[in-house]
């Protein structure tokens, strides 16, 4: 089966509510400072999947990030996040390659924006694509688990990097908003969100 057909089988198709996986958000961003999704995250689904395509920042070396709002908060600065991050990388000049923990990108009960891939290249043909899974954000009992995987071009030696991020949103209040942005500047790219029944 072609890759595109497999993806459609798993993720549905824009505008089509499949039996199990429903596309809830599909936006192409151009020169945007933030991408906020403020509807559609509720108790309807126990699992939300975000896909990022061709994310390209205006500033070199910037980090793509996310934070959330609980239902009783705003401004994306109240929910503590504890996270772990690791990366595999290889430079085109074949000088550097490794798998390592990425301490600069993790958080320990911090309420700041959580890094997804860090240190993006802003070259015209460079970008990043990835997936973020968020489990049962409407729970009012448990902390909310998430994990993410990205493939992107980093500014450091233009390395090809695969970054893995996981953590929990350490609140028992339901989450209903999520925002993505770079540390500074603007970005282009497409962000989609699905709910999985």
């Amino acid at each position: 089966m072609p890759l595109g057909a497999f993806k459609a089988a798993l993720m549905g198709t824009a505008g089509v509510a499949t039996e199990t996986v429903v596309l809830l958000h599909d936006t192409d961003y151009s020169g945007a400072s933030t991408a906020s999704i403020t509807s559609g995250i509720d108790s309807t689904y126990g699992h939300y999947i975000f896909k990022f395509y061709n994310i390209n920042p205006s500033g070199d070396g910037e980090t793509f990030k996310f934070q959330v709002n609980a239902t009783d908060t705003a401004d994306y600065n109240d929910v503590p996040i504890t996270s772990a991050v690791w990366v595999a990388y290889h430079t085109p000049n074949n000088s550097f390659a490794a798998v390592t923990y990425q301490g600069a990108a993790d958080q320990a009960q911090a309420t700041t924006f959580q890094a997804l891939p860090d240190g993006f290249s802003s070259d015209a043909d460079h970008h990043g694509s990835g997936t973020l899974h968020l489990f049962n954000p409407s729970s009012t009992t448990y902390a909310k688990h998430f994990y993410s995987k990205w493939q992107y071009s980093a500014s450091w030696n233009e390395s090809v990097s695969t970054q893995h991020i996981a953590g929990y949103l350490n609140t028992t209040t339901a989450i209903d908003d999520i925002q993505f942005k770079f540390g500074s500047g603007t970005f282009d790219g497409t962000i989609k969100m699905w709910g999985v029944k």
Binding site: T20, T82, T100, F135
Partner: protein, 177 residues
């Protein structure tokens, strides 16, 4: 072709969560999604095993790898490590999907297990999983397990349970054609 929700098991104080129907040759890929999975006993390990057709006891032979990345809330410990204590080498025990999950009121684990073509009667059955957990020592642990069920008989049952005690949580099984 679509991803179809086949079964939802919602457990409360259960010793295990078993899927004993609908795993057949209808689908080549089965995905198990689990969340809000909370053990009654602190520092218990979330695990799974399988039965081939006509077998019972959830004791098929598994060879697997396991690694994790972790970080504590106190910001004192981080690592990316292979965990030999969580893998199996032709063993029949339950395969670890996590480390020791906390039993605190807000603590749980969540993740996915992919099982490929369990009804095949020629090849061993490959699986891989990723699970985020609230470790009992107040860490995030990002767990990766992968391996194969070393049986050429068709697999038709899957069971999840903690290494000790009962569990709460939701586990859903999907078929992908």
């Amino acid at each position: 072709m679509t991803m179809k929700l086949l079964t939802t098991n919602t457990s409360s104080g259960a010793a295990s969560s078993s899927f004993t129907s609908k795993i057949d040759n209808t689908y080549k890929l089965y995905i198990f999604k689990f969340y809000d999975v909370n053990p009654a006993t602190d520092n218990s390990f979330f695990t799974f095993q399988a039965n081939v057709v006509d077998a019972s006891g959830y004791n098929e032979t598994i060879t697997s790898t396991f690694f994790s990345a972790y970080h504590d809330e106190a910001d004192g410990n981080t690592d990316l490590q292979y965990e030999a204590a969580r893998d199996q080498a032709e063993a029949t025990g339950f395969q670890y999907l996590t480390n020791g999950v906390g039993n605190g009121a807000d603590e749980s684990c969540a993740g996915e297990l992919y099982l490929f073509n369990p009804s095949n009667t020629t090849y061993v059955k490959h699986f891989y999983s990723r699970a985020s957990e609230y470790y009992s020592g107040d860490y995030i642990i990002d767990n990766y397990a992968a391996g194969y069920i070393n049986a050429t008989g068709a697999v038709d049952d899957i069971q999840f349970k903690f290494s000790s005690g009962n569990m709460d949580g939701v586990i859903k099984m999907y078929g992908v054609g």
